[in-house]
C-alpha cells in the first residue's frame, strides 16, 4: 500500500464528511433546527398537501410583490 492511497482515502472520506457538516451548519444557520419537536414530526407533514400549501404561499408573496411594483409604476412621475 503506497502513501498516496492512504492520503486519498483519508482525504475523500473527510471531504465527504465535511460536506455533511457544511449542510448541517447551513441548516442551523437558516433556522431549520430551531424547533426540535416539529423537526421530529416533520415526516408526517411532508406530503402533497404541504407542497401545494407552500406553492400557494409562494404565489401570495409574488402577487404582493407584483402589486407593489405596479403601484410604484403608477406613482412614478418623470422628473421635470
Amino acid at each position: 500500500m503506497s502513501e498516496n492511497i492512504v492520503i486519498l482515502m483519508i482525504g475523500v472520506s473527510t471531504f465527504l464528511g465535511a460536506l455533511g457538516l457544511i449542510a448541517l451548519l447551513w441548516g442551523v444557520k437558516t433556522g431549520q433546527f430551531d424547533d426540535q419537536s416539529k423537526f421530529i414530526d416533520a415526516a408526517r407533514y411532508d406530503g402533497e398537501d404541504e407542497l401545494k400549501d407552500a406553492a400557494m404561499m409562494e404565489n401570495k408573496k409574488k402577487a404582493r410583490q407584483k402589486k407593489r411594483e405596479e403601484e410604484k409604476q403608477k406613482n412614478y412621475m418623470p422628473p421635470d
Binding site: 502513501e3 492512504v6 473527510t14 451548519l25 442551523v28 444557520k29 416539529k38 400557494m56 404561499m57 401570495k60
Partner: protein, 788 residues
C-alpha cells in the same frame, strides 16, 4: 352531547364550540386534522370575541408590531392551547389560507409564532379572531427582550458543537490507526500522513469551537481569575503546540485527539446550561404577554381606553370579570372576589370591598369594580416581579464549585511546575529542545483528563439515578451545591399540602342525583367547586351530562341554577342564609352546602390536605442535620396549623413574593446555602434567588423553568432522596478528585524527571480514567430506607 347526521355518519360533539370548529375545518378542506390527531384528546373549544379591538389600538401597535420597508407588518405571538403537532399544522394552515397573511410559522417546542401580513389587506384583530375561531388563543410578546439573544447564543453553540463533534469523531478513527501502528510498528511516512490529517481536523475544533474558552480565559485573565476556561484553553493549546512540534520534527507522539476531546466534552456541558436558560426565557415571555396593554379608565363619567404607561396615580380604573389587574390600587366602588393565587399561592379567592387594596397580578373573578390607582405601572407589583425574575435568570447565585476551585489552583501549580522544569532542564542539560519537550510533557500528562472526568462522571451517574426516581436535576453542578446545603425552605400550599381543597367529610341528608350537583359545580372555576367535582367523579360511576338553566353565580357566595323546574342552590353559609335556610356552619374547614328547592340535601367539608409522608420526610431531612423552615403567603393561623402537623418549627407567614425572596437573601448573607421548594408563580422569585430551587412537577410553568430540580411525583419523600443522592454523589466527586490528584502527584514528578514516554502516558491515563469511572458507578449502590 350534541348529535348530528352527516352522510350516514353520526357525529357527536361535546359543545357548540367544537361543532363550529368541525364545520369550519371541513369547509376549508382541512378535515384531515382529525386524522392527524391520533390519540390526542382535545379540550372543548371556547370562543370569545372580547377585547379583539385591543389588537388594533395604537399603544399595542407601537409595542409589539414591527413594520418593514415593504409595508409588511410582523408580530410575534404565543399561541395558547397547542398540545400536539396537529394543532401546529392546523394553525399554520388556517393562517396560510387567510388573505393578506404572507408568512406564518409556529414553533412547536415553545408555541411561539411569527406572523407576517399585509396591513392593507387584513387587520391583526382579524388574524387573532381566526386563531380564536378554531379554538386556540394568541397573545403577543416582545422577542427583543430576551429571546433574540437566547436563540442566537443557542445557534452559535450548536454550530460550534457540530464542528467539534465532527472533528473528534474523525480524529478518533485516525487515532485508532495511530495506536495500532504504535504497537505493531509503522513507517514514519504513514505516521506523517496521519499526523497531518489529525492536525487539519483539530485546527478548526480548537480555534472555532474552543473560541469560547479562549474568550473566557481572556476575561478571566483581565479580572485576574484563573477559571476552568483558563485550564481548558491552556491545556488544549499547549497540547496542540506540542503536537505540531512533534509532527514537524517527527519525534514523539501527537496529542491532537486529546485536544479535541477536551474541547468537545466541556463545550457540550456548557451548551446544556444555555439550553435551560432559553427555556426560562420562553415562560417569562408568556407571563408578560398575557398582561393587558390598555385599561379602561373613568374620567368625569366618560370611559376610555388608556395605555397602561399613561396611567397616573389617582386615576379611576374599571375592571371587568376575568380581567387581570396590572396596576396596584384601592377599591372605590363595587365588590367582588379576586384570585390572588399568583401572588400568595392560595387558591381561595379573596372577597374585596370598599377601600381594600387591589394588587396587580391578581384576577378579578366575578364582578365589575372601580378602583383608584395608587401606583403607576412601573412600580406596580406585577412589573416589579417580572423585572426581578428577568434579572434573576441572568444572575443566579451559584456557589463556587469544588472542581472549579481545585482546577484553578491546579492549573496555576502545573503551569508553574512546567516553567520550572523548562528552566531546570535548560540549565542542567543545555539543550533547549529537550527542555521544551519535557516541559510540555508535564502539561500534557497533567492535562485535565482525569481531573476533568472526576466530576462529570460521578454527577452523570447521580443524575441518572435521580431521574429514575422522578427527580430531574437540570444541571450536574446542582448536585454539588445541594450537597453543601444546610437549610431547606418549604412553601406551604402545593408543596407541603396538595394545593387544592379536597372533600374530607360528606354528609348526605337526602338522596339526590349526583349528576345535578356535578353540573352545578362545573359551572364555576372556584377551587372549592373543582375539588367537589373531582370528589363526585371519584365517588359515582355513572354521571350524566346535564345542561342547567338560569345559571347565576353570586359573588363570593355560590351558584344558583334551575333544572326542570327544580331550584338548585350550591355555596357557602351566607348563600343559604340569604335564601332563608338555617344551617349549622361550625367547622374549621371550608364548607359547601347543596340545596334542592330550598331544602338542604348535602353538606361537604373541604380542606387542603397535607401530602402523604410529609411528616416522615421532614423528620428524616432534619435528622440529616438540615434546618427546615416554612415560607408561605397564607395567614399565620393556618400556616402554624400545618407546620405543627408536619413538625416544622420555624414559620414565616403572610409573605409577598418579593418578601420571600428577601428572606432567602437574608439566609444567604448569613452564610447559608439555601434549597427552596415551591410550586407557584408566587414562589418564582424566591426560587430564582435560592441556591437550589426545587419545583413540583405540576406547578406553574414559571416556577418550573426557574428551578434547578423538578420533582415529577411531587412526593415530599423525593426531597429527602434528592438530598441523599446529592450527598452521595458529592462524596464520590471528592474521592475522584482525590484520586486524580494522587495520580498527578505521582505522574507529574516522573514527567518532570523526563521519564514519561507515550506508552506510560497512554497506560496511566486510561487506567486513571477507569478508576474514576468505576468509583462513580458505586453511587448506584445507594440505599433508600423506604424500600428496604
Amino acid at each position: 352531547m350534541i348529535k348530528e347526521k352527516e352522510n350516514d355518519k353520526e357525529l357527536n360533539f361535546c359543545c357548540k364550540g367544537c361543532q363550529g370548529v368541525y364545520h369550519l375545518l371541513n369547509s376549508e378542506g382541512l378535515g384531515t386534522f382529525y386524522d392527524k390527531l391520533g390519540d390526542t384528546k382535545l379540550q372543548p373549544a371556547s370562543q370569545s370575541s372580547e377585547d379583539l379591538e385591543k389588537f388594533d389600538l395604537e399603544g399595542f401597535k407601537n409595542k409589539y408590531i414591527k413594520t418593514d420597508e415593504d409595508g409588511l407588518s410582523e408580530i410575534h405571538l404565543i399561541i395558547e392551547g397547542i398540545h400536539c403537532s396537529a394543532c401546529v399544522w392546523l394553525n399554520e394552515k388556517v393562517l396560510h389560507k387567510t388573505d393578506g397573511v404572507i408568512e406564518a410559522s409556529i414553533n412547536y417546542t415553545n408555541n411561539k409564532a411569527k406572523v407576517v401580513w399585509d396591513p392593507e389587506e387584513v387587520k391583526l384583530s382579524k388574524i387573532i379572531e381566526t386563531i380564536r375561531s378554531i379554538g386556540y388563543n394568541a397573545y403577543p410578546y416582545d422577542p427583543s427582550l430576551q429571546e433574540e439573544r437566547a436563540t442566537k447564543t443557542r445557534k452559535d453553540y450548536y454550530s460550534r458543537i457540530l464542528v467539534a463533534v465532527f472533528g473528534t469523531m474523525n480524529i478518533m478513527w485516525i487515532a485508532i490507526a495511530h495506536y495500532a501502528g504504535y504497537f505493531t510498528g509503522m513507517q514514519q511516512s504513514f505516521k506523517d500522513i496521519l499526523n497531518v490529517a489529525e492536525f487539519i481536523l483539530a485546527t478548526p475544533v480548537l480555534f472555532y469551537s474552543g473560541w469560547i474558552f479562549f474568550r473566557g480565559a481572556y476575561y478571566g485573565f483581565k479580572n485576574r481569575i484563573v477559571n476552568m476556561d483558563t485550564l481548558v484553553a491552556s491545556g488544549a493549546l499547549s497540547a496542540y503546540i506540542y503536537s505540531i512540534y512533534a509532527m514537524v520534527t517527527q519525534r514523539g507522539e501527537v496529542y491532537f485527539d486529546s485536544v479535541v476531546m477536551i474541547i468537545t466534552f466541556v463545550l457540550v456541558g456548557k451548551y446544556l446550561e444555555v439550553l435551560s436558560k432559553k427555556h426560562a426565557v420562553d415562560t417569562l415571555d408568556s407571563l408578560m404577554g398575557s398582561t393587558p396593554t390598555e385599561v379602561t379608565t373613568l374620567k368625569d363619567g366618560i370611559k376610555s381606553l388608556v395605555s397602561i404607561e399613561n396611567i397616573q396615580i389617582g386615576d379611576i380604573i374599571e375592571l371587568k370579570p376575568g380581567e387581570k389587574v396590572v396596576i396596584d390600587g384601592t377599591l372605590t366602588s363595587g365588590q367582588g372576589s379576586f384570585d390572588e393565587s399568583s401572588l400568595t399561592g392560595e387558591n381561595e379567592p379573596l372577597y374585596k370591598q370598599n377601600a381594600d387594596a387591589i394588587l396587580s397580578g391578581s384576577i378579578c373573578l366575578d364582578s365589575v369594580v372601580h378602583y383608584e390607582a395608587s401606583k403607576d405601572v412601573s412600580s406596580s407589583l406585577l412589573t416589579s416581579i417580572v423585572n426581578l425574575l428577568e434579572e434573576s435568570i441572568t444572575k443566579k447565585p451559584h456557589i463556587e464549585q469544588l472542581a472549579n476551585t481545585i482546577s484553578g489552583y491546579f492549573s496555576n501549580i502545573i503551569l508553574l511546575i512546567a516553567l520550572l522544569t523548562l528552566a531546570g532542564w535548560y540549565f542542567w542539560n543545555g539543550s533547549f529542545e529537550t527542555a521544551l519537550i519535557v516541559g510540555i510533557s508535564v502539561i500534557v500528562i497533567a492535562c485535565p483528563c482525569a481531573l476533568g472526568l472526576a466530576t462529570p462522571m460521578a454527577t452523570l451517574v447521580g443524575i441518572s439515578i435521580a431521574a429514575k426516581r422522578g427527580i430531574l436535576f437540570k444541571e450536574a453542578t446542582f448536585l454539588e451545591t445541594m450537597a453543601k446545603s444546610k437549610l431547606l425552605a418549604l412553601d406551604k400550599t402545593g408543596t407541603i399540602t396538595e394545593g387544592k381543597p379536597s372533600v374530607v367529610k360528606a354528609e348526605l341528608f337526602e338522596d339526590f342525583d349526583a349528576s345535578l350537583l356535578l353540573a352545578l359545580v362545573n359551572t364555576s372555576n372556584h377551587p372549592i367547586s373543582k375539588g367537589l367535582a373531582s370528589y363526585l367523579k371519584e365517588e359515582n360511576d355513572l354521571l350524566q351530562h346535564i345542561v342547567l338553566e338560569n345559571i347565576k353565580s353570586i359573588e363570593a357566595k355560590g351558584i344558583k341554577a334551575s333544572y326542570e323546574g327544580k331550584k338548585l342552590l350550591g355555596g357557602n353559609v351566607d348563600l343559604l342564609k340569604n335564601e332563608g335556610i338555617e344551617i349549622d356552619a361550625n367547622s374549621e374547614n371550608s364548607l359547601f352546602f347543596f340545596a334542592l328547592d330550598n331544602k338542604l340535601v348535602a353538606r361537604f367539608e373541604l380542606t387542603d390536605t397535607i401530602r402523604e409522608g410529609a411528616k416522615e420526610a421532614i423528620g428524616q431531612i432534619e435528622a440529616l442535620g438540615i434546618k427546615v423552615v416554612m415560607l408561605t403567603g397564607d395567614h399565620e393561623q393556618s400556616a402554624n396549623k400545618v407546620a405543627k402537623e408536619v413538625g416544622i418549627k420555624e414559620v414565616h407567614a403572610k409573605l409577598l413574593p418579593q418578601e420571600k425572596s428577601a428572606l432567602i437573601n437574608k439566609f444567604q448573607s448569613s452564610g447559608e446555602v439555601v434549597v427552596m421548594v415551591g410550586d407557584g408563580i408566587n414562589d418564582a422569585i424566591a426560587l430564582a434567588q435560592s441556591n437550589i430551587a426545587i419545583a413540583m412537577g405540576q406547578g406553574a410553568d414559571v416556577a418550573i423553568s426557574v428551578s434547578d430540580v423538578v420533582l415529577l411525583d411531587e412526593k415530599p419523600q423525593s426531597i429527602l432522596e434528592a438530598y441523599k443522592i446529592s450527598r452521595r454523589t458529592f462524596r464520590a466527586v471528592k474521592e475522584n478528585l482525590g484520586f486524580s490528584l494522587l495520580y498527578n502527584v505521582i505522574a507529574v514528578p516522573l514527567a518532570v524527571a523526563g521519564f514519561v514516554n507515550p506508552l506510560i502516558a497512554a497506560l496511566s491515563m486510561s487506567l486513571s480514567s477507569l478508576v474514576v469511572v468505576g468509583n462513580s458507578m458505586r453511587i448506584k449502590m445507594i440505599k433508600f430506607k423506604d424500600n428496604q
